[in-house]
Symmetry: C2
Subunit: 385 residues, 2 copies
């Protein structure tokens, strides 16, 4: 224990940077949102798994887990004398379960999960080091319909908790690398182009690709096409894409058509030149946005699961969903004077009241934030002070 | 990363001892039980807080946290260069919140929580190293009614998820130490008596207390009194207790009377000589048992919170509740052939079906464990194979 008087000791109750308490009523709201999202997933056949918070780092950081290796807290297991990691992402754990304990289940396998993840450092924009996640993984199908399903199911779950309107941003992380690699340009020029594309510097992209044949026609138009999905698909269709890139474009068109069939009301944008995001995405990648400035609510996309099994999934961020969702109506609180019969109290709870039982004659209904008080068997509203 | 071919590498997918995956359908059942327990707590005015999984060890291990210090995983925070702990119990965190961020809220303060705890080592009987907890803390009331409330609310929450019958075992962890300390016996004799009481060795207790005045009358009768609460209270009433012990007995009688008023159907036992359990209990201590051999479902009791504020609480063990609760009816799974209109699918989800959309013509309803298939707009049961 640290001497609390020592100068380096934090004030009592101080928490490490990026770790925080969720207080009433936010903690209950977040939990309710998570369970509502999970109920939405379950209604589409996604079955819940609950991997442990800690596991051996060599399984935790395999596959897509490598992307979060640097952000993973590690600690020694005194039982096995092996290193364990505290999960920074749940998808690698679900991939492990799908490949091992559920390896013999029929495909496509639909799994969902909810829980906390931790990371070693926050960023300036996202200082949190513990975050809730709730997500779905659809494993064993390579079809565009599978990508469309995870997008539609995630959007429907958000809509069910009152987040509207939702827009889905689709990117094709393999498109730009495929075009650059097939361009025949020297490595330095490709890197410069990638850098310019990353900054969306249209003039520089045009200059750098000017003498690169088909690329000179493709890249500027793809960069300009970012926006509503139909216009972006039209730009892709018109661009003189080499075969490998054409297949990526055709797949994007198929995914978008399948999403339209599953989620007709969803607003879709496509940014065909964007290639940032998790390194492990091998097909479409998704970001779901809520209204106004609520920011990213979910990310996902297609990846290769363990044993190179095709997979697609979506991770929702309940802390962001909490900020985007409409506030819940507060629960009315009924003060029960001492001696209230239990059956009477139970009756009011069944009506939706939280009952606050007086434990002594000095318990004060207003101070305890009660909205009602029991008088003559009736829940009488307490006027606000 | 460990070389997977090295002889010390675990097989792929192996988890550390005591850490496990919860699979379908258990993961969903456990989550549903936790939320049902939390809904019960909320209906009695307990408001949810969510402390982080990690915090500085000097706050995590303060107060009642000292009892789990040896079981707490520690890791270095690279941001602050200070040691953090991975919580092994949630009560110390709730105490911190009550004393700091909710320090100015009116008392009694009712808080509840649900989440995971981790411990360094499992035991032979309880090998788990990650366990769910769901609990309530009632802070700022010293009255027997407060102890009765946490017992009654916990029992009601268990009853609401179908666990019946429930019995509440009450112990008085301060009774035996109080009697021994006031006995005037030499330290060695007191230690021998404590040891004999711990083993419930009635003959040895009688022999060791034979010449110890009032103790010779008290201890054997208290040891024998363990059982239904009324008989045990009668034995306490008849025993020639010194003043300090008499106050403990009177408080136990008051708590039991208050529990009877709040939870008339609850089966109560009292073991007045038992003094094992968490070191920090300063009044009654509780253990809730389910039917048959389902074991301990919850533990709790009265303690001193930070700043010596009186407090009482109960921690439920959802993994044990899961084993004691009746199984839930499985959700019917309806297979939707490709091209099923979204509105039709939504209608069946609203009826309680999980809808399993075919993603390709080869998706097989039986292999996907569907119970029904959509034919001519109807959910047709699939006969079992």
């Amino acid at each position: 224990m640290t001497d609390p008087a020592s100068p380096s000791a934090p004030p009592a109750g101080l928490l490490p940077a990026g770790l925080m308490d969720l207080l009433p009523p936010e903690a209950e709201r977040e939990a309710s949102l998570v369970e509502a999202l999970m109920a939405g997933f379950a209604s589409h056949g996604y079955e819940r798994v609950k991997p442990p918070l800690l596991e051996f780092e060599d399984s935790l950081l395999a596959g897509s887990g490598a992307a979060v290796a640097e952000q993973t807290f590690r600690l020694m297991d005194p039982v096995s004398q092996r290193m364990m990691g505290l999960r920074a992402d749940t998808t690698p754990q679900v991939a492990r379960i799908a490949a091992t304990r559920l390896g013999l289940e029929a495909r496509p396998l639909r799994l969902c999960y909810a829980g906390q993840v931790l990371r070693v450092r926050g960023s300036q924009l996202a200082p949190e080091r513990q975050m809730p996640q709730a997500g779905i993984e659809l494993i064993g199908s390579a079809s565009p319909e599978a990508d469309a399903e995870v997008a539609a199911v995630a959007a429907a779950a958000l809509a069910a908790v009152g987040v509207a309107p939702i827009s889905l941003d689709i990117t094709l992380p393999t498109m730009t690398p495929t075009l650059l690699e097939g361009s025949g340009l020297p490595v330095e020029r490709r890197q410069a182009l990638a850098h310019a594309l990353d900054r969306k510097d249209a003039a520089m992209v045009a200059a750098l690709s000017a003498e690169a044949g088909a690329l000179a026609e493709c890249l500027p138009s793809l960069l300009a096409a970012a926006g509503p999905a139909d216009a972006a698909l039209a730009a892709l269709a018109a661009a003189p894409l080499p075969q490998a890139a054409r297949e990526i474009a055709d797949n994007a068109a198929a995914v978008i058509a399948a999403i339209r069939a599953r989620a007709p009301g969803l607003r879709l944008t496509l940014d065909p030149a964007e290639f940032r995001g998790f390194r492990y995405h091998v097909g479409v990648a998704f970001t779901l946005y809520g209204p106004g400035r609520s920011g990213e609510l979910a990310r996902g996309g297609r990846y290769l699961s363990l044993n190179d099994e095709p997979a697609t999934g979506m991770t929702l961020y309940p802390d962001a969903v909490l900020r985007a969702a409409p506030p819940a109506a507060p629960r009315p609180r009924l003060f029960l004077p001492q001696g209230t019969p239990e059956a009477v109290a139970a009756g009011f709870r069944a009506q939706g009241f939280a009952t606050i039982a007086a434990l002594s004659p000095t318990d004060a209904p207003r101070a305890l934030r009660c909205t009602h008080i029991l008088r003559d068997g009736q829940a009488v509203p307490l006027p606000k002070e």
